[in-house]
Structures are given as C-alpha cells and as structure tokens.
C-alpha cells in the first residue's frame, strides 16, 4: 500500500458524526429565500379561504346572512355550521378528548371564534366578503376568571355538555368544570404539612401566553376528484397523527389521504393542534373541487390558535428548620378556555405537571389540577415545553425561593441541600416518575463558580446599602434556577395521543454507491433534523453525514411517527435512527464477513468499516459493503441494504440544567436590565454543539419574553387586549441579552446513544430564572413574590407597594 491509512480518529472526523458542529444542510436553501413554506405553495386554480370571526366572547348566534358576501366578485362559497352539519363536521374532536366547534353552532365561546368560512379566487376578495357577512349576535354574560367560572351561578358555557357528569378524564362537578387530576398521597402530605417546622405557601400564577411562531398556521387542501385522493400541505408538527384524525373524521380511507408538512417557520407547540381552518379548507376543496389555501394572519393566530399556560398554582412546601424539604402540596386551577383542546398524552390531562417536585428529593407530595372552561380561546399547548413541564418547573423554582426567604437560608444552599444525589439515580419521585440519570451537585457547583456567586451576593448587599443611603435608584437581583425536565414521550405503555402510541420511527435505505436516505416520523420546525439525524446515522453506519439525505413530513413516504414537540425528536426518533442504523450494521457485518471469507464473528466494527479481528489491514468499508449488497448473490442473505425501526422508549429522558441571571432594576421606571445570563445544560450525549447552543439561545429568548412581558390578556368582556405584535411582547435583538452557555454531560442510560433532548430546556429553566432575578431584587425590602409578566409597570408597582418611591 502506498497511501497512508488514516487513523480511526481521522476517519471518524470525516464522518461529521456525533459531537461535530456540522454546518446545517438546510441553510443553503433558507438563506437565499428558497425555503418552501405553506404560503409559498401555489396550485393551479387555487382558492383562498378566510374566516368571519366573532367579536364577542360569549354570545348566541341568532342569524347569519351571507347574501351580500356572495355577491362580491370572485367569491365562490360561504360555509357556515349549517353547511358542515350534514357531513358531521361542524364539530371536531380535540386532542384532549373534548370536542370543539369548527364553525359556530348556535353560539360562540371566545372572541375570534370561527363563525363562517369565505372561499374566493383571491385573498383580497375573500377579505372583502368577510366584511359583508352579516351576523346577528345576542350577547351572553362573559366569564374570563376560572375561579368565577366555578361559582354555582356562573353562566353555563358549554350547553352541549352541561348535564354530563362524566368527562374524558373522570367526574365533572360543575357545568364549567372539565376534570380533576390527582396525583400523590394527599393524607400523608397534609400530615407532613401540619407537623412541619416551617411551611411556605404562595399562590403562583403562570399567565396565559402564546407560542407565536414567526410563521402563522395554515394549509392548502387539494381533493383530486379523479383519483379520490386528498392531499393537504400544512403547518403540522405531527403529520401522521393529522392523517389519522383526518381519516377518522372525514371518513376518507387513510391511504387516500396524504399529509405533507413542508418547511415550517417555527412551531413551539402552536402547530400541534388541529384547527377549524384545516377542516374548512378540506371541506371547501371537496365542495369546490379546487385546491383551497387558508393562512391565518397574526391577529387570528394570537386570538384563536392554541395559547399556552394559564395555570393558577397554589403551592405549599414543608421543611425542617435547617432546610430539609419534607413535603410538597399543590393545587392548580387550570384555565382551558371554551373547549378543552390541550395537547397532552391521553392519560395526562395536566401533562407531566407531576414533575413538580423538580430536582429535589422530596419524600412526599400531593397534587391536584382542576380544568375549567372560560370564555377564552382553547389551547393549552406545550409552548417550547414538554406537556406542562414549564409550569411545574416554575412552581417549584419559585417555591424554593419563597421557602429560602422564610427559612432565612441562601437559596443556592437550600437547593444544594435538597438535590437528588448522584447515587440515588435511577430515582423514583414521590409523584411517580423514574428519573434516568443526573449529577446535579456537579452542575450546580460549576454554575455557581462560573458566575462568582459569593461575589454577586456581596455586591448585591452593597447595592442595597447604597440604595438605602440614597446613592442609587437601581437594585440588583440574582436569579437562580436548577431545573429537571421530562421529555421524550414516550413509552407506549402510558403515553398515547388519541389512542396512537407515542413511539417514533426511522427507515433507512443505503444506496449501492454507499450514500443513503433516511426517513423519519418527525418533522423539523427549525431544529435542524436534516443535519443532526444524519450525524447520528453517520456514527452508527460509517457513512459521512454529507452523504445521507434526511426526509420527513410526507406521510406517503415517511414511516408512521407521532411528530415533533415536547423535545421528543432526539429521545424517540433519534433512538429509532440509531436502532435502524444498527440493523444496517448487523447485515453489513454478514456481508463483510462473506466478502472477507471469514466467519461473521471474526470481523469487528471500526468507525466506517468491518475489519478482520487481529488483522486490521483486511477490511471492507461501508461503501464496498453497500455495493456488494446490490450486486452479489450472497448465500443466505437477501439483496439490498435497508432497515426500519419503530422505537418505543423504555422511559422518558430527564435533561437538567443550572441557570443564573443577574439583573439591575430601576426602581423608578421599573425597567429591568439583564446584565448577565449563564446557562449550563446537561442534555446527555451532545450530537451537534453548535445546534444545541442555538437552541439554548432561542429558548432563553422565548423565556425572556414570557417572564418579562409576553401575555395574552383579556378584559372583563373577554376582549383580547394583546392581539397584535404591538401589544404582544416579542423581544428584538435590542432587548435580548448576550448569553453564556456551558454544559455537563450525563448520558441517558436507556437511550441508544445517551442523548436526552435540549430544545425546551432553556425555556423551562429560563422563565423561573428571569422571574427569580426580578423578585430577588426586592427581597431585602420584605418582598416575596409577584406574578409574571414582569413588565415595567408591574415591576414599578412592586417598588411602589414596598414604599420605595418615598
């Protein structure tokens, strides 16, 4: 041989596999405007749909007159509930086991609810016609407060189920009550509370907000009457689930439905739901025989598609005098709006909120969540979150701070004292989860050392003194958070959506010349799947990531999967990818052994090839093996090199992290300046550090938004007060701080490559961290807790109520 054989490390580097900050393959298209998002799709003869929406939050629909609208040139049809009723499509099932009106059936339950659907030859004509549809409403009393909704004489919102005593999740005790979900041991917890040295108690509101991806929701539905096939392109985070649901409610056989998620302009949970716009577009296409496009505008997006959070959390935490937590008690009043359209696994009507014991070894806990109907938009999706984990993390991370104040113990020390120790993993929590792995003390110490925690506290104390002396009007806050997430839903044994088990899938085909295509049941919305899944595979099968195409989102070609949300792509589909890769490798091993004329067991894997044990100069590289798979008749082995894996994870994964935020708060203006934000994430094995860092920056910025001002607010009449980007806070580059990122690596013991998922961690940990920082700034003056969002006015109000304005 005259060429120098590359070392295994050199060969591994060429693969751009696990751990490589490989540049994204998606970006060449996106940076030159060649993405293909749903609104970019243009089909011959395509029509446009647009909604007439209710201006009232609660009203009876007395009549709808669409005659004038139909006269507008270009208008093809105006659909109302009366048109959908004969098809049984005026209502649709929700992901939470409830049902929701597609178009107002006799009444409306929230402002912005869909009342009629106008279809026209262009979007301007459709908008003109929407203005001309005359709807006669009779206003009804409005309830936007979930506590008032449960009062005995509260107006009946859902007349369709007013008398039903049983809901999808057990008994209903009031006409506006949806469910009660209880976990843990109430009696034992209340006993601990009664006997505890110290109990800290607080009502903590996690306000209603909205995922607000930059691209709104939409679809193009096209019914081909010749071959009977319905194709729908849309902003779907779970295309296969949409196909199954579409088949069940339309009666069209599943093989005659093709759902395609094209490029998606961000999702963050907003694109998990099934919306009336999708149903109306499909019906309109069936009725007119033409493709129909519907894309909501931003105001419709904020008013009517899925909101997030809106949890009133009453927390009680018990501890010994020296700071050992002995119990946690929590009751949540959950505002679900007019229909229960939460997106949670069926058996978890409050998602994984029972992760609320957080990172701490809490011996006993109890939790109950009451879901309530109000005159607000439906939703309750996991906004960059795994099914209510953000709410849970916010609760426990605020309660720890409240407890620290009550005990007079430093909040960092209180956390350290109560962390689940490394030797306790796998750890079973009081509320039933089995945490897979963690090393919290190491991460915490690293974070505190990185920010110089002791010095920060000293500086803060000095600042308080200067403030008292009148030398400054700015206070300093130090926000701490240590969070544990639960992601990767999930084991089919306890996680399903509408009866569909939450496994995921990957199918791989190796081409004869040694490149490959892999298709998955997930769909990227910016996470860079085309880049990272190829990296997982590169490390498994020894084919360079650059030679592997990743395809997702087309139900006609991709294997069945439950989609991308709840940080489940890496834990579930990533595992399926690795497992399918291993199947490829197992077959490749037999082929290599045949070609090398040795027994199967006499060859071993070495980065990108099989080598004869003890004779590394005798090897077959993957490319050669692939070619042989297609051109040699190998006894006992089928031709071809393909594999598919449907992966049902044995457990969730539990990423964690330690965050520290330092703020300066202007007491007189309420302005909060983020001086420093340090984020340490442990997401197990790191696939692409560049992408992880990008996910952390993005998640923290969404956390900043939520903590500091982003809110879907209603007035007493149920009017949405934050329906445009003028009022709904989305931080710009100017308000967004610079972030410092860091990591530790504690692999998941049950995931094939040890990865845990990271997309949502920064939002889960970021919100309490920002909020703790703001609250902490006022701690020296007796302040304990103020609700988010911490906008200028609310921060000013804290100072004012403490008498700091003189």
């Amino acid at each position: 041989m005259n060429e120098i054989t590359p070392t295994p490390a050199e060969r591994a580097e060429k693969l751009k596999g696990l751990g490589s900050s490989r540049k994204r393959v998606e970006d060449v298209r996106f940076t030159q405007g060649k993405g293909n998002y749903v609104d970019d799709i243009k089909l011959p003869g395509m029509l446009f749909g647009d909604f007439v929406r209710s201006p009232y939050a609660h009203a009876r629909v007395v009549s709808i007159d669409a005659e004038a609208a139909k006269q507008v040139p270009g208008v093809v049809a105006v659909l109302t509930a009366a048109d959908l009723a004969p098809l049984g499509l005026h209502w649709m099932p929700t992901l939470a086991g409830d049902k929701q009106m597609v178009l107002a059936d006799g009444k409306v339950l929230f402002q912005g609810q869909e009342v009629a659907f106008v279809v026209a030859t262009d979007r301007y004509a459709a908008a003109d016609a929407v203005e001309l549809v005359e709807v006669d409403y009779e206003e009804l009393p409005v309830v936007t407060d979930p506590f008032k909704a449960l009062e005995p004489d509260a107006p009946v919102l859902r007349e369709d189920i007013a008398d039903q005593k049983e809901g999808a999740h057990g008994a209903r005790r009031h006409h506006n009550h949806i469910f009660t979900w209880e976990q843990g041991d109430r009696e034992a917890t209340e006993k601990v509370l009664a006997e505890a040295d110290v109990v800290a108690e607080e009502m903590i509101y996690y306000h209603r907000t909205h995922p607000c991806p930059l691209e709104t929701c939409g679809c193009v539905a096209s019914m081909d009457k010749v071959n009977g096939k319905l194709t729908v392109w849309g902003t779907f985070q779970a295309p296969h689930a949409v196909r199954t649901v579409a088949s069940l409610i339309s009666g069209i056989a599943e093989h005659n439905i093709r759902i395609i998620s094209p490029d998606i302009g961000g999702g963050f949970g907003n694109k998990v739901g099934v919306y009336p716009g999708y149903i109306c577009s499909i019906v309109a296409s069936i009725v007119t025989g033409k493709p129909v496009k519907w894309v909501e505008d931003r105001m419709e997006n904020l008013m009517a598609t899925a909101f997030a959070r809106d949890y009133w959390m009453q927390g009680k935490i018990a501890a010994t005098k020296d700071g050992r937590i002995t119990g946690l008690w929590c009751h949540v009043t959950a505002d679900h709006g007019g229909f229960d359209a939460c997106a949670d696994p069926t058996k978890f009507p409050a998602g994984f909120f029972n992760i609320c014991t957080g990172s701490y070894d809490i011996p006993v806990a109890w939790l109950a969540v009451d879901g309530v109907y109000t005159n607000k938009a439906p939703g309750g999706v996991a906004y960059r979150c795994s099914f209510r984990v953000t709410e849970a993390a916010y609760l426990i991370e605020r309660m720890i701070e409240v407890l620290a104040i009550k005990l007079g113990i430093d909040a960092a020390e209180l956390r350290r004292k109560n962390f689940i120790r490394k030797d306790q993993f796998p750890y079973r929590s009081a509320l039933g989860w089995e945490y897979d792995s963690g090393d919290y003390h190491t991460a915490w110490d690293k974070a505190l050392a990185a920010v110089g925690y002791e010095d920060l506290r000293a500086e803060q104390a000095d600042r308080v003194e200067s403030f008292r002396r009148g030398e400054t009007r700015k206070l300093m806050g130090v926000g701490l958070t240590f969070f544990t997430e639960i992601v990767g839903a999930g084991p089919v044994k306890n996680c399903d959506i509408l009866g569909l088990g939450m496994f995921d899938s990957c199918e791989i085909r190796i081409h004869p010349t040694g490149s490959a295509i892999a298709r998955l049941g997930t769909i990227s919305q910016g996470q860079g799947h085309a880049t990272t899944f190829a990296q997982i595979l590169a490390s498994e099968i020894g084919i360079p990531a650059d030679n592997i195409t990743i395809e997702e989102g087309d139900t006609d070609t991709a294997p069945y999967g439950l989609g991308t949300y709840g940080s489940r792509s890496t834990p579930v589909a990533g595992a399926a990818t690795a497992m399918a890769g291993r199947k490829i490798r197992a077959k490749a091993q037999m082929i290599a052994a045949y070609l090398l004329e040795v027994h199967d067991d006499d060859v071993e894997w070495d980065v990108d090839r099989f080598v004869v044990k003890g004779a590394p100069e005798r090897f077959k590289a993957m490319a050669e093996i692939a070619f042989a798979a297609y051109n040699q008749a190998i006894p006992g082995i089928e031709p071809g090199l393909e594999a598919v894996s449907y992966y049902d994870p044995p457990n969730m994964t539990y990423p964690f992290g330690a965050y520290v935020c330092v703020v300066d708060v202007d007491v007189d203006t309420g302005q909060v300046d983020i001086r420093r934000f340090y984020a340490l994430d442990d997401c197990g094995t790191r696939i692409n550090p560049m992408i992880i860092e990008g996910q952390v920056h993005g998640g923290l910025t969404e956390a900043l938004a939520i903590a500091m001002g982003q809110e879907i607010a209603y007035d007493e009449l149920g009017n949405v007060k934050t329906g445009t980007l003028m009022d709904f806070f989305v931080p710009t580059a100017w308000e967004t701080p610079h972030y410092e990122t860091d990591w530790t690596t504690t692999p998941s013991p049950h995931h094939p490559i040890g990865a845990k998922g990271v997309g949502e961690s920064p939002n889960v940990g970021g919100v309490p961290c920002f909020s703790n920082a703001v609250n902490d700034a006022f701690r020296a003056f007796g302040h304990v807790h103020a609700h988010m969002p911490h906008d200028h006015w609310r921060v000013w109000k804290i100072a004012h109520d403490l008498g700091l304005h003189g």
């Binding site: 994204r24 940076t31 030159q32 060649k34 691209e215 490029d263 961000g266 445009t724 989305v730």
Partner: protein
C-alpha cells in the same frame, strides 16, 4: 376593481404587470412574481419578515402599496446571491455562524442586514442590535445573527476570508 399598470426592477430584472392599486408590495412579489423569499409574519409592519430593499432603503413590503414602488428598484433576498449562483457574503455568514433555525425570518434579516452594512460598514455589536431591531426572530435569540452580521461586515471590509 380597476387595475393599474406597474413597472419596476426586481433583482435587476424589469417587470411589468397589472395590479389592483391596493395590492401590497409583498403580495405582488409573492403572488404575481412568484418571489417567495420575503415572508409574511404579521402584515402590520412589526416583524420584518417581509423586508425588501426599495431604492436603497429597507422597506417592510407588507406596508407599501405596489403603486408606491412603481418605477422603483427592488431587491429581495433572492437578489443577494452572487452572480455565479453561490451564496453572498451575508448568506454565507448566516450559514457559517448558525444565524438561522426555521429560516422564516432569514430572508428579511439578511435583506435588512445588507442595507445596514451599506449604511454602516463597520458597526459595533450594539449598532447591529439596534439596526436589526425592526426584524423579529422567534428561534435564534439573535446572538448568532449578530455574530453573522459582524463577521460579514469584517469580510466585506476585507479583514477576513469568507471561506470556512
């Protein structure tokens, strides 16, 4: 509705069409001309996804009638690729520094950054953040966008090579 005759240069090519006077420039570009790089994120001039360059100024094309751009020279992100079809410096730096995720804001971001660097070829990080504050991104947290623009500025000033 009566249509008006409009004429403009888009990415160096002369275009002529009939359009309703109330047609927004963004709809004209996307639907009439099939230039789908500029996106629609709000239609209320807040998000900047629709940003294009009109006669040397950054414009939110959802807030301009097609008639207002009559006779103008319009550049979209598609017009910022090199003549040989390779990525322009800003496009390349966005890729290099992971300045995008879902890509929906990216065409507006890059088009705005292009104009910003014409106005100020040597901006500080603060000036970049301020100059880009009309463009929202929901995915990246801006840190890598800022990094990409600073890097592009350095390349355009000849202080750095564009290659990896």
């Amino acid at each position: 509705m009566a249509k008006m005759h409009v004429k403009m240069t888009v990415n160096g090519t002369q275009v002529e069409a009939l359009a309703e006077p109330r047609t927004l420039l963004i709809h004209f570009l996307r639907e009439e001309l099939g230039i789908t790089g500029p996106h629609i994120g709000c239609e209320t001039s807040h998000c900047g996804a629709c940003t294009v360059d009109v006669d040397g100024r950054s414009v939110k094309s959802c807030t301009m009638f097609v008639g207002q751009a009559n006779g103008a020279s319009v550049t979209t992100v598609e017009g910022l690729v090199n003549p040989d079809g390779s990525l322009g410096v800003l496009q390349e730096m966005f890729r290099e520094h992971h300045g995008l995720q879902c890509g929906f804001c990216t065409p507006g971001m890059i088009t705005r950054a292009h104009r910003l660097l014409q106005e100020n070829p040597n901006p500080s990080e603060e000036e970049v953040r301020f100059g880009m504050s009309g463009n929202l991104c929901r995915c990246t947290g801006y840190q890598n966008i800022v990094k990409a623009i600073m890097a592009a500025a350095a390349v355009l000033r000849g202080e750095k090579e564009a290659a990896e």
